[in-house]
Amino acid sequence: MSTLTKSKLIKTVSSPSRMAIIVAVVLIVASVVRRITGADDITSAGATGATLRFTVPLLMAGLGGLWAERSGVINIGLEGMMIAGTWIGAWFGFLHGPLVGFICAAIGGALIGLFHGFLVVKIGIDQAVSGLAINLLALGAARYLSSIYFATNGGDISLSPQVKQPGVFSIPGLSSFLIDLNAKNIIVISDAAGILGGFVTEVSYATVLLFLLVPISTWILWRTRFGLRLRFCGENPVAAESLGVKVFRTRYIALAISGMFASLGGAYLCMVSASVYREGQTAGRGFIGLATVIFGNWRPTGVLAGSFLFGFTDALRVRQSTSVHAILLVIVILGLLFAMWKFFQRKYKVFGISALSSLIVGVIFLKVPKIPDEFVTFFPNLATILVLVLLAQKLRPPAMLAVPYREREEGH
């Protein structure tokens, strides 16, 4: 009886306020851990700023993957499309400034997306083969073109000339107020101020605009007729076509958007995260984008959460790798809290698993003085595998993902 009322109680708490509770708990734990370990970076404004710069490329790749997969096509070529975006962004950004760079990268990415569409939708070749070939071609083309264009303009085969970054802004008053508050070192409040401060201090206009693509994607995919049709194509193309949805055309559009987003993420990498194109700059982010789609259960907000998590660890690794160690303690405490909650819900199996894994992480925290960078690098991949293993039952991928589909030919 009591479990019934409890679970009812939990259900009656609306999802925004549940989110608020979770955020508050995480914040308190992070604040306490910062005090204990002295890893100031985990809640500083600087770390938040860096997190944003690392998150956006992953987010764009993830959203690109989401659009493609929701329409039923898997896009392994995200990495190649990002590479194209870094190159195009750097070259046109160098010539005509960042805005033109971003626009050209978007157009170029959309064209590559359409090319992928032509191969897998129209011709019907294996989706993974097409994606991999695109990765290979983009890699070769970027180096080839660099040797022609960059080498004669002050760069070389693996480096572009300096590219101008898009402008940044801080919200006057609020930014300095939050940073002052962060410096005062009041528990929880300073931490919250630090994190919020990062969101309003020296933020690139590009960051804001690209973040807007999350609500826009959600709105289009879940609130418009076109979005419904697009998801329909991913769930059941045969039924969709029998109801008059143009499956091929919808998938073409989805892939153009997919390529455009991934390419924008690449352009962001070379113009905001850095101010130069460097070979290998994408460093497998296209594949991590693919991982965030799974991690986020094929939903834009989930992709956002996954990108933040992976972007955050990436940012900490680059800024101050001791902070990554402190994060372990955060995980332990959060894991134990979660276990307790499950215990009161009498879900003993989940309780056991989460308690045990928290304890294991706790032992690692105590025994290992520093988390090796290599582990931080593949953390997103490991996390995705674990999510797939532990939560495979709860994931809801589009039903006809990566299943080849032939439109019925005319005259039948």
Binding site: I74, I76, L119, I123, G124, I125, D126, A128, V129, S130, L132, A133, I134, N135, L136, L137, L139, G140, A141, R143, Y144, S147, I148, I157, G284, F287, L290, A291, I294, P372, E374, F375, T377, F378, N381, L382, T384, I385, L388, V389, A392, A402
Partner: protein
Amino acid sequence: MKLNKVFWAIVAPLAAIVTSLLFVSGILLLKGNPPYETLKTMIDYGFTPRNIVAELNIASSYYIAGVAAAIGFKMLLFNIGIDGQYRMAVFFAAVVGGAITLPPILHVTLIIIVGAVVGGLWGSIAGYLKVKRGISEVISNIMLNVIAGGLVAFLLQPGRLGEQAEGSNNLNTPILATSGWMPTIKFLDGEIHSFLIVSVFIGIGYWVLLNKSVFGFNLRSTGMSFRAARAGGVNAPRMIFVTMALSGAIAGLTGMGTLLSETHSYSISFPAGYALTGLALALLGRNHPVGIAFAAYFWAFLDRSAGVLDLNGVPREIITIMQGTIVLSIVVAYELIKRINQKQEQRLVGSASNEQIAAPKIESEKN
């Protein structure tokens, strides 16, 4: 019908190569390099005796990766995890081989077995996830590749399993004792890894396994029709798991020639990208042991002869573009051929059934 198949199996790859040559020529012209001369320098350079030997050595590794991919393809598995499987395998083989000393042949055998086992184990993770959790092997293998790369980089640090020669940036595992070396064979101007012979045997083994064994029969039938195979008593999930492990085990042998006959230790300079190459070769060679062999030599030839391009003011990346184009054109060609054949068959079936319908009519008229 059989002849038709053989004809297409030869024409399609050639058509793909010609297409990519045309495409690459166009790109060369854009930059103002003469395509014909460029190609000629490449071929001249690629067929110098020294390079032929190097190409054979590279091709032997590529061939093994190609066979690993082909076994997966036969089961409709897309083993993009070859990279990770190979890296884990060659690393642990080098570590185990470097840690002990055994009589000559035993030592080499042990190293090879360790490689196959580690590769097989790493490959079977993806197989397990596919069978038990329904996770696409493409996704899990991509993730596993990154994890393998990170693990090996971590373990290769000095003080763990690797060491750093003084005055060098290169990290490597301890050098194998000479009992763990495989001899090289003098040929033309250079030395061929004797592991090349092993890769020939892998090719023969692949053919025998596929065409002359019960396992191969089950493999091919499951790859053709899941349901039919299941109805015929084949344990399809088990087949998937075993195939993935087998493909991984073969992938684990990819770097052995280099390890045993050339470097004698694993280092970070071991090449990456075997997954892509292996898959491309299996596609190009249509999963046939002989076809893959030709494809492997061709690929190695391209890689090697690209070296001369930079000297002539042509960026060598043109070769990467060419390889990418070949892969795309070949799969497009196969897809189109499949479509044409299907149409033909439909037409044949259609006309045959029309005759059957027409036939009784004539009889009834007679009566």
